[in-house]
């Protein structure tokens, strides 16, 4: 079984800088785990600890049944795709892919078969004799993938592999990576700061912040029930509207019921707000917004509205055919199941209606 277990893993750098704190993640055999978070949240450090490129200060990392804390990267049977691809610039595409196999003493015929197989899967057949500098970004990316798959490792590690590609290629490669991982069935850990990449690729999504795991689970569970305001604002684009509720009435906002507490934050996603006619009462949440700007992206449009004509900004997703223009006042409503409440001080979700 090629599952990966992280148990209370921590990393402290010299000078007492804590990069990763008490991270526990379980990744089952063949699962695709994505670590996502803003830069500096410790996700890359964590990945490098799994790879063996960084030492582990506390806790343990196990691949299969083996604790790998003290093993060299070469002994962990992993393959890694780097952000800058890290191809060997003086070797041909073929040699780049064959290098890891040669180091392990694989027979020549076997190397040939495996490299050709990888080249076929990744459509690199015509490029095998080229040097990396004669390749485009997308091709280099595929060579880096090829180098990983020829080895048939127990675990794939990806360190922001798509961030150097242009937007169109990124989407294409994202789909390819997903398909490839599915067909090979190799346990994978993928680091990204792009929430869309994270949502679309992950079986297990881990949101990290300041060295800790904010929340982990399936992408939809994180989307539907974010545990903290951080996750709520990180997952989903545009992000969830977070409205701090003051004690008394707020102009433009009418809310059926709210949890008890001093500081409460109300969260509602732009796609869960619906335009409704001004007189229509009886919704759990109704907001009166002065539209300040609109963004049409085709199938849908986004309205940027000021709550009660001033202050707090609220984003609403509407149909692309909507004719609402800046300067108008609109009423938007949401149903009870789409409302999220968080504790204002701790950022934690408050459950129960």
């Amino acid at each position: 079984m090629n599952n990966v277990h992280l148990r209370h893993v921590g990393k402290v750098y010299a000078g007492n800088v804590e990069a990763v704190r008490d991270v526990s993640i379980e990744i089952d055999d063949g699962q695709f785990c994505v670590l996502v978070g803003p830069s500096g949240c410790g996700k890359s450090t964590l990945l490098r600890m799994v790879a063996g490129l960084e030492t582990i200060t506390s806790g343990e990392i196990a691949i299969g049944d083996t604790v790998v804390n003290d093993k060299d990267p070469s002994e962990r049977d992993i393959a890694m795709v780097f952000q800058n691809y890290a191809l060997y610039p003086h070797m041909s595409v073929y040699d780049n892919m064959a290098y890891g196999l040669r180091n392990r003493g694989t027979p020549k015929a076997e190397i040939e078969t495996r490299v050709q197989e990888a080249a076929r899967i990744l459509e690199l057949g015509a490029l095998l004799e080229r040097k990396p500098k004669a390749l485009s970004g997308g091709q280099r990316q595929r060579v880096a993938m090829g180098r990983a798959i020829v080895r048939k490792p127990r675990v794939f590690l990806f360190d922001e592999p798509l961030s150097n590609l242009d937007a169109k290629l990124r989407i294409q490669m994202r789909v390819e990576i997903k398909k490839l991982q599915r067909s090979l069935g190799i346990t994978s850990i993928y680091v990204t700061h792009d929430q869309l990449e994270a949502m679309t690729l992950a079986d297990v999504l881990v949101v990290m912040n300041k060295g800790r795991v904010e929340q982990s689970g399936s992408p939809m569970s994180l989307y539907e029930r974010p545990k903290t305001t951080f996750v709520a604002s990180f997952i989903g684009a545009p992000p969830m509207n977070l409205l701090p509720l003051t004690g008394g009435d707020m102009p433009g906002l009418s809310l059926f019921s709210r949890p008890q507490g001093e500081k409460i934050v109300l969260g509602v996603r732009p796609e869960h707000l619906e335009l409704s006619s001004p007189g229509n009462e009886g919704h759990p949440l109704a907001l009166d917004l002065l539209v300040t700007a609109t963004e049409a992206v085709g199938a849908e449009s986004y309205l940027y509205g000021a709550l009660g004509g001033a202050g707090q900004e609220v984003i609403v997703r509407v149909n692309g055919s909507s004719t609402v223009a800046a300067g108008e006042t609109v009423r938007v409503t949401a149903s009870a199941r789409h409302l999220h409440f968080f504790d204002g001080a701790s950022g934690q979700r408050i459950d129960g209606e």
């Binding site: 070469s74 780097f82 952000q83 060997y88 610039p89 003086h90 040097k131 080895r151």
Partner: protein, 293 residues
């Protein structure tokens, strides 16, 4: 964006170039032309008569077995010095690159010898290895080794090789260190994940990626040993014993200054000039083609 400067009038650019042109002409081209001219002349030892002889100086030189012996000495000397200066400095650079504690301390110490003038370096080594005074000589003799570079030509050669190598290691070290640091860390990490042992990683990844630096240094080192080791040789062995440590440059000095054979000496320096031009041309060609991988 490329910045383009345009001058009004044609005079200004030449005026701006003039100081550099003057320096080049007065200190490089003029003496070089003088040497070429001189190499066509035979002058008697007292400078009373001069005769234009075309290539007679060259003919004499190239038919003299002594010249080939010196050429041989130079080739042996330069290949040994270049080999050790390159390999030792690479070793030091790799070690210093790995060091975490006191890394800057190591680097500073390794760079220091470069600041020592060649003649001083020669004198330092002379004192350490002088048969009757030197500390190292005393130690060697106490250990029963018959050390006397003043009489033993092999030992004299070893001494100048050591001094010349020691002097050049700092320079090579700097370039190798810079070369090592310009290799992306992720490439090294990728090869570690690919299962290459540290030794294998060095020979299959680091060394090939350093090859532009190595080639550059090889040319620089050969030029150094050919031309800049004069001070060391002069201070340490004076070319002896029995011309065992006489290199081409030293012979130019010896024949011209001490032997009074200005024409022959000039012919030798013209040949050296051709050699250095050839080396520089190779260097430039290579650099123009950029890194070969």
């Amino acid at each position: 964006m490329e910045k383009r400067v345009t001058f009004n009038g044609k005079l200004l650019p030449y005026v701006l170039l003039l100081p550099q042109l003057l320096v080049t002409i007065i200190f490089f081209y003029w003496p070089a032309m003088q040497a070429v001219w001189q190499s066509f002349l035979i002058e008697d030892a007292f400078g009373t008569s001069t005769q234009f002889v075309w290539f007679e100086n060259y003919q004499l030189l190239l038919s003299n077995p002594d010249y080939y012996r010196t050429l041989g000495t130079t080739l042996v000397f330069s290949s040994i010095v270049a080999f050790f200066a390159l390999s030792l400095s690479l070793l030091f650079a790799v070690q210093a690159d790995k060091a975490i504690k006191f890394a800057s301390g190591y680097k500073t110490l390794l760079i220091w010898p470069y600041a020592v003038a060649p003649a001083i370096a020669g004198v330092l080594w002379l004192f350490m290895f002088q048969p009757s005074l030197g500390l190292v000589s005393k130690a060697l003799q106490a250990a029963g080794y018959d050390w006397n570079p003043l009489l033993n030509s092999g030992q004299a050669m070893a001494l100048v090789i050591m001094a010349a190598t020691w002097k050049q290691i700092s320079y090579n070290f700097l370039f190798f260190l810079a070369g090592l640091q310009s290799i992306p860390k992720s490439v090294i990490e990728a090869s570690a994940i690919d299962g290459a042992s540290p030794t294998r990683r060095f020979w299959t990844i680091v060394f090939p990626l350093l090859s532009p630096t190595t080639f550059f240094l090889l040319v620089i080192n050969v030029v150094y040993v050919f031309f800049d080791t004069f001070g060391i040789i002069d201070a340490t062995t004076g070319g002896g014993p029995a011309k065992a440590t006489e290199t081409l440059v030293y012979k130019v000095y010896h024949d011209g200054k001490l032997g009074g054979d200005l024409g022959g000496s000039a012919a030798q320096s013209v040949i050296l000039m051709v050699m250095v031009i050839a080396l520089t041309a190779i260097q430039f060609r290579y650099i123009e083609r950029k890194v070969e991988y």
